[in-house]
Symmetry: C2
Subunit: 360 residues, 2 copies
């Protein structure tokens, strides 16, 4: 059912941008607004919203559903011309906000048909609203990360002599599903030894060796909300000096950044805090990515924790804190939690331990 | 490496459409043209092509790769403004073809920046070219469907007393991978009994019962090309009269449609042939979807086998022939092969038997 609070918050953001009507086509955003998942593939799906107007959901009859959704439903078939249906709803005297991801074929169709007075990327209105999770969403984020904590404990047990990255990864989905997740939030990263230093590494047939670091970057979807956590273990042997130095530095960057979190601070300052620790430790060039990304219905949502993002944290933000140090050919360590900005400061949503853990 | 033959064929199609430059952003199409997979997520990725111009690949430096790709590479970072880079390449005096799926944020950026004289959906140029598989692609389609045949034989062995749909489905990916596939081409459909009559059914915890039909609609990706096949088995008991009638009618529709295939016949006539058989058998209303879809790098590509498609088959087309009869609450049968249109007629790419098969 269409969430009136979310609708009003999006309309307020639109008003600030001078956009008074909008066509939302991102299925994630349509779900966010209506609670209804429709995966239209290449077909048209759009939620039209405007001030003081009943929302309208344009949906192919292939995705017919009987229940009320809090919006007027306009059905069409694969052979129908959708332009007249759109023109009957959109106010041609106003410009129309569209999703940043709206497919060009639909945008060009509306433009050529003169549906609106102009077209503007209006995604920011939805994205900034989605970045501030409401109470129901916060609870779902907690539950999803809790499942991820439980799963990490089981993933740890998959690490044993002779196993390959791919063999470990192949067992994860089942574990997640038994814990109540519906799917991965992204394909899991399992990296042994020097592979952990390669940012693009995907699980392959590399066999675990004594002394390897074991990087697990994993997440699942529970009740439509994503988790995402990284832990780095060591196999069979206490970490050597380099491994230990890199691990402890990464952990300190992670924990210091988390401790400072509260509403109203620049996201870039959080990245800088973590980055400065790693730079002062002598590994600045080995921390090759931003500190974190926003997350919710999608694993990567609008907003990030980077030196370039001058925006302030706000209550309801959920994002990752994931510093990493990658020493090519030798070792890669990343430690990642999800965090939630609250009225009182912050919550770290992951509780899986971060002490150095030598398996086997 | 950029495939000159494919490039020339796309440029010829563009010329027919009066489009003389194009920005291709669909990662599947970029792969088709260059042999290079880049999954840019929300970031800009585009292959610019134009007559008598060196192709240009716009790619974020996060996806840096050292090897030659047969196009000039233009790298940019997350903080760079891409508009000047685009304007330095696009001819502002000509209209620009764009992908049907290009994200609105990029199209609006180019429009607001005056990059071209106009913008037009140019996807048809790429899509019609992709629909005519070249020799290398045909061989990959054969191999992928061969793997699917071998997998189906193993999937059959998963059907036993007490098993659930979900338990069967959960074992399929491993089987595919051991046979050399990289992934599913789509999430497998496993449906027992009346579930097989529900077009939207996903594998759940339904337990197999004696007398059930067992519908398996499955496919994998081998060497970047998709397979897709459906077989319907029966469990433990010879099919009853209704099951047998529905099965034999579906099989006759499948085989008759396949037998007529050659280059130059209307795709709608193929659908009609299969549909007429089922309608004359009294089950026309139970065949609720089109007869088939084109397939290749993607499971569903441009082109279909439906009453609405008046286009003619052409050498190199690969598509599915998948009639089905769905008797709500009772039984669902679908029999699907992939086919290839050849110079001499056609090849059926699947060879898994279609005789009534009672398991257990």
């Amino acid at each position: 059912m269409l969430d009136k609070d979310r609708l009003n918050r999006v309309l307020q953001q639109m008003a600030k941008m001078g956009v008074h009507q909008m066509m939302i086509t991102d299925p994630n955003a349509v779900f966010y607004m209506t609670g209804k998942w429709i995966h239209p593939g290449e077909r048209f799906l759009a939620l039209y919203i405007a001030e003081n107007r009943e929302p309208v959901l344009f949906v192919n009859e292939l995705f017919y559903f009987p229940e009320e959704v809090g919006a007027k439903k306009v059905y069409f078939s694969d052979t129908d011309d959708i332009l007249p249906l759109i023109k009957a709803v959109v106010n041609p005297a106003q410009k129309l906000g569209v999703d940043k991801t709206m497919a060009a074929k639909f945008l060009l169709l509306m433009m050529e048909g003169g549906a609106a007075a102009g077209y503007v990327n209006g995604s920011l209105a939805v994205d900034t609203t989605r970045a501030m999770k409401d109470e129901a969403e916060r609870e779902k984020m907690r539950v999803s990360s809790h499942v991820n904590d439980l799963a990490m404990a089981q993933f740890r047990e998959l690490i044993h002599a002779g196993v390959t990255e791919q063999e470990v990864a192949a067992q994860m989905l089942d574990i997640y599903k038994k814990l109540g997740a519906t799917r991965y939030s992204f394909d899991p990263i399992v990296a042994f030894g020097a592979n952990a230093a390669d940012g693009h590494h995907m699980p392959d047939d590399t066999v675990l060796r004594e002394g390897d670091c074991v990087l697990l970057d994993v997440g699942c979807v529970v009740d439509d909300y994503c988790s995402d956590m990284t832990r780095t273990f060591f196999y069979k042997r206490e970490p050597d000096e380099l491994q230990k130095e890199v691990y402890n530095l990464t952990r300190r960057a992670n924990e210091t950044a988390e401790e400072m979190l509260k509403a109203g601070i620049p996201l870039c300052s959080v990245d800088k805090t973590a980055r400065d620790i790693i730079t002062e430790g002598g590994y600045g060039k080995c921390f090759t990515h931003r500190l974190g990304h926003f997350i919710g219905i999608e694993d990567h949502e609008f907003g990030d924790v980077s030196l370039a993002n001058k925006n302030l944290t706000a209550v309801g933000n959920t994002f990752s804190i994931e510093p990493g140090i990658y020493v090519q050919g030798k070792v890669g360590v990343r430690i990642e939690d999800l965090v939630l900005i609250t009225e009182n400061g912050h919550e770290v949503l992951n509780h899986y331990p971060k002490d150095i853990d030598v398996i086997g």
